[in-house]
């Protein structure tokens, strides 16, 4: 309860800050940040998607998993860095309204779950990648990580799209 109130208070401060106010009151800034956010998503999702498909054994099956990870995931992080930056700036412009928005909450929960999925994958099954590097069919836990990642990214996308429809009302 105290945490929730602190969070709401922080959101109010953020929305009223000079940065948040500037972005909210400038149609141009808001539109540019929105577009850059999705362009970065294209790079992040476009790269992690094919890593996930490799884990699932339905794409790039002739590429070793470690090579796919080494070559694709840096692009995911580059895209994600831009998404995080533009995302935070977009949040700052309407933090208080977003705090009460269900679609935004769903998106944040999916983001946290996706982060946990990455951590779990890298610190468990991926450590033994040498044993299944060239296998078309990866271990069940690796396939699960790939499937969760895809599902969570699609959920984030859908929730993100819904924010635009539910925030104005």
């Amino acid at each position: 309860m105290i945490l929730a109130m602190t969070l709401l208070h922080a959101a109010q401060l953020l929305q009223d800050s000079a940065l948040g106010t500037t972005i909210r009151e400038s149609n141009w800034w808001y539109a540019v940040l929105n577009v850059v956010h999705v362009l970065a998503l294209m790079v992040a999702a476009g790269s992690i998607m094919f890593f996930d498909l490799r884990l699932l054994g339905v794409g790039l099956t002739r590429t070793p998993v470690s090579e796919a990870a080494a070559r694709l995931l840096p692009w995911t992080w580059r895209g994600f860095a831009v998404m995080a930056l533009t995302g935070c700036l977009l949040i700052s412009s309407e933090a208080e309204r977003l705090y009460f928005n269900t679609a935004f909450r769903v998106k944040v929960v999916c983001l946290i779950l996706a982060g946990l999925n990455v951590l779990l994958f890298h610190f468990t099954v991926f450590r033994g990648v040498a044993q299944w590097d060239r296998a078309a069919v990866t271990p069940a836990r690796a396939r699960m990580a790939g499937a969760f990642s895809l599902i969570l990214w699609v959920s984030m996308l859908a929730a993100g799209r819904m924010i635009g429809y539910t925030l104005d009302t």
Binding site: V35, V38, M42, G46, G59, R62, L157
Partner: protein, 159 residues
């Protein structure tokens, strides 16, 4: 066609009021779902472009020929194009009036036509025949620029 002519206005009105248009505008979730599907199709299509073009640029998967990477991602690309071919016209019909008045929409369609033409001619030849490195890099750079442009214009319609 002259935008002020009655025939043009009639065409705009017709596009705006088909049963698809009215169905989609009938509920927020319908339009939102089609938009989400269109965005998802864009992500998958762009993902396949990214895989092939990063390979053509020589930035990854050097041990495999570009044609093998392209062949591997082709089914996803085809599926994505099919989704875009259905959801794109649906979104157009739902917002025809807005689309036909917007310069950005015209820019997007023009870029799309150029990007698709380039993709199935110059780009495809670069992927299939192992040409010079310079040619591959040029094809990849042009392709990435064109598709980023299509996406940028598309996103700007609603921004």
């Amino acid at each position: 066609m002259n935008p002020d002519s009655p025939a043009y206005m009639a065409m705009v009105a017709w596009c705006q009021n088909t049963w698809v248009s009215e169905f989609l505008r009938g509920a927020t979730w319908r339009l939102a779902s089609v938009e989400t599907a269109h965005l998802l199709g864009l992500l998958v299509w762009f993902g396949t472009i990214l895989m092939v073009d990063l390979r053509l640029l020589g930035w990854m998967f050097e041990s495999q020929p570009a044609s093998e990477i392209a062949g591997g991602v082709a089914p996803f690309g085809t599926a994505a194009l099919a989704v875009q071919g259905i959801t794109g016209p649906m979104l157009f019909l739902a917002t025809a009036m807005k689309a036909l008045m917007s310069i950005t929409f015209a820019v997007k369609l023009t870029l799309l036509a150029i990007a698709l033409t380039y993709h199935f001619t110059v780009h495809r030849r670069a992927v299939r025949a192992a040409g010079s490195e310079a040619r591959n890099r040029r094809a990849a750079s042009v392709s990435l620029t064109l598709w980023f442009g299509v996406a940028l214009a598309g996103l700007w319609i609603n921004a």
